[in-house]
Amino acid sequence: MDSPTTSLDQNLDLSKLSPKDKQELQQFIVNESQKARIQQSVHSLTDVCWKKCVTGSIRSGKLDKSEETCAANCVDRFLDANFTVIKHLEAMRNQS
């Protein structure tokens, strides 16, 4: 595959964009970055929760019911843990 950057450089003159286009593009980038961040979190959460919840050998291509429940709980508890850490840090900051 051609290098994406090369094809960009060759064809793009962003200075020619109208202010409206520029703003639209900026918003688009903001949205895409957020999407990418969320996707990144999903990847690392799946990694963590797979280790916790899929412990047996692979017998089929589907998640069984208990694994599915475990994965959903895993996400929620991970986030609970995350919030607990943040809350506690805040409490510590307020103490000092």
């Binding site: 064809n11 003159d13 639209e24 688009f28 990418a36 979190s41 050998s57 694994e67 986030l79």
Partner: protein, 97 residues
């Protein structure tokens, strides 16, 4: 001028730089996502399906791989649904994030 975006049917990149940038960003995001998924599937499924690497991948191991891959993607979807649901819920509560 012919380039990657054009050849993939994304339309006139040189005429509309905004659309070209958008497509580029979308493509790269999809690529990163796919690469990440492949890496993780390989890591976890190799762990599950090839406990003792032999001289070649057996048919049993190959079957295990395809099943494991489907399973991993199912897990990904469950996690994604749960995570996004939770974020939205927390967002509605406090406006954090």
């Amino acid at each position: 001028m012919e380039n990657v975006s054009n050849s993939l049917g994304f339309g006139a990149a040189s005429a509309d730089p905004k659309a070209a940038v958008m497509n580029q960003v979308r493509q790269e995001a999809a690529m990163t996502n796919a690469r990440q998924l492949i890496e993780k599937v390989n890591e976890h499924c190799f762990d599950k399906c090839v406990p003792k690497p032999g001289s070649s991948l057996s048919s049993g191991e190959t079957t295990c791989f395809t099943q494991c891959m489907e399973k991993y993607m199912a897990a990904w979807n469950v996690v994604s649904r749960q995570y996004i649901g939770r974020i939205q819920q927390e967002n509605g509560k406090s406006g954090m994030f």
